[in-house]
Assembly symmetry: C2
Homo-oligomer: 336 residues x 2
């Protein structure tokens, strides 16, 4: 049969409460006793029953990862974050639950409430773009559910972030250094922080180089391959074409390269193309895509870790920053 805490207690000749203390890393247990209890647990392969722990301790050991499933449904980005969150949860014997939530829908808050009431997560991890949805954050605070965010726009709160603006700026500076002047930018989905930061970095670099912005070269996209193709066609139809395109993510950049093929433009000879994210695709393309590496999996892991620190009473939690790195590959070259 199942080994219970009581069985361990008997085997170690201590009270159940002492075993509980050891299990939860509490103080007030002598080193010697602790060792004996741990040995007994090990020997009997004891596994605490999560429901019993939750019920008695009034916590669930569950972390919910919330995401918006409205746009860009098949991105690998979320899958990578999920992977990282899962790793962190596993490491601390928490379980992870994933919850798609439609930011645009009217019953967003009702669904959030249902999630909390039905599953009692001890905390939640927020992913873009819902990291900055004010009603959500408000409700989480009201209901006393701690949260950590991946790439939040605000500076309060805990989680993880990369300096995307600096990365975008560095990318455009790379193009400038290659002699490009007519540099186009494909913007991502309008209300995403990522879109804003990357656009801001583009503008910053262009301005620093003394280049006035040409509105025709800044095109709205939607983070998808298809929107990259469409935007590129627009750009290529211009009387004065850009010599380089900086897309706000790799999917759109891939679309640009595809459209370049349609127009008979050789990348990078006739056109330099670069993206952002360093998805697996970037390396597989030919020519391989110059892009910014964003460690999504690691960011998911770190965000979850900050949350877990809070949940485990290990301090207040931080907004940690991860470094970016330019991956200069073969899709960008000196202007002819």
């Amino acid at each position: 049969m199942r080994v219970r805490l009581e069985d361990v207690a008997r085997a170690a000749s201590v009270s159940p409460k002492t075993v509980s203390r050891v299990l939860n890393d509490e103080a007030n247990v002598s080193d010697e006793t602790r060792k004996r209890v741990l040995a007994a647990m090990e020997a009997m392969d004891y596994r605490p029953h999560p429901s019993a722990r939750s019920l008695a301790g009034n916590r669930s050991f569950v972390v919910a990862m919330l995401y918006d499933n409205n746009d860009n449904p098949a991105s690998t980005y979320l899958a990578e974050i999920q992977d990282g969150v899962l790793e962190a949860c596993d490491a601390h014997r928490y379980s992870m639950m994933v919850r798609p939530l439609r930011m645009r829908s009217d019953d967003f808050i009702r669904r959030l409430d249902a999630l909390i009431s039905d599953h009692h997560p001890d905390g939640v991890v927020l992913t873009p773009p819902i990291t900055d949805y004010a009603p959500l954050l408000k409700r989480l605070r009201e209901r006393n559910v701690p949260y950590a965010s991946v790439s939040p726009q605000g500076d309060d709160g805990i989680g993880v972030r990369m300096d995307e603006q600096a990365a975008a700026r560095a990318m455009v500076e790379h193009l400038l250094a290659l002699g490009h002047r007519r540099i186009a930018h494909l913007i991502g989905i309008a209300d995403h922080g990522a879109s804003r930061w990357r656009l801001a970095g583009y503008r910053e670099a262009m301005a620093a180089a003394g280049l006035p912005e040409d509105p025709a070269l800044v095109v709205q996209g939607a983070f998808t391959f298809g929107s990259g193709v469409a935007a590129a066609r627009e750009l290529f139809a211009l009387k004065s074409r850009p010599t380089a395109v900086f897309a706000a993510n790799d999917d759109m950049a891939t679309g640009v390269m595809w459209a370049a093929g349609e127009y008979g433009l050789k990348v990078p000879h006739d056109l330099s193309v670069c993206g952002f994210d360093d998805t697996p695709l970037a390396r597989q393309l030919w020519p391989a895509l110059t892009t910014v590496q964003q460690p999504s999996r690691e960011m998911g892991r770190l965000a979850a870790l900050q949350l877990l620190n809070v949940l485990r009473g290990r301090g207040p939690g931080q907004l940690v920053q991860v470094p970016f790195s330019l991956q200069v590959r073969d899709s960008t070259a000196r202007v002819p």
Copy 2:
């Protein structure tokens, strides 16, 4: 404070056990009583506490989705299945937990045991390629954990399946009808059922057309874009090139189209290309990819539904079949 079952019982003037009966859709409650109890639940916005239910009822209301994270890490396929599983679980107030498991690793079974002991899932959903890993199935049966599979190779067990061989055959017949004779096939990862079925369908159609197999035209791939590019380069280097390529999935087909661009081959004028899966990419490509629609999300949902039927005591569960459908788009055309 929290509304408990006892509070509902008091409000409806019945015993706690009666409320429990209503909550669990059990028999032996008069319609009138049931109605009164439901009304009270509704009025008080009662939410049963999952841990209490689990502890007392010896079940967790958790379904674990198991997948192999070793190959093709960033496929949207798993994300879609996950989405479907989640929908089914939600509909029956179960929660879903996702568990990556490395099939090749030595501690596979130990990890499975840990999962079961630590989280007590009421059942699991298996995804390719671990749907047919005998030691896994054996252990699940030993530990009495019901499971349902997405695209299992065997005919026993419950879950969901598409007739992939028939679909592959239909795809090749489409190419034959366009006049193609030198038709190449890119195989997926060797030990996957999908690879086998699709290859078998290819062979079946070719044989039925009286065409002997040319080994040079059947190339091993790995379900990835990169492997599609590599395989296509091999094919294009042949003295006698194929006029059509049937890749075992869309990612590889996209790689083939990419490589065709490198070689100056126009699709579909110089080369017909088709894939399998109907990923979002297929529609976005230019020319749009001819492929087989595989309703992954729906398959995830149906597999989970079969499992839930078993868990909820609604019969034994079936191996249901979903229909395939050819998506004939612009990447295939009559041979010149």
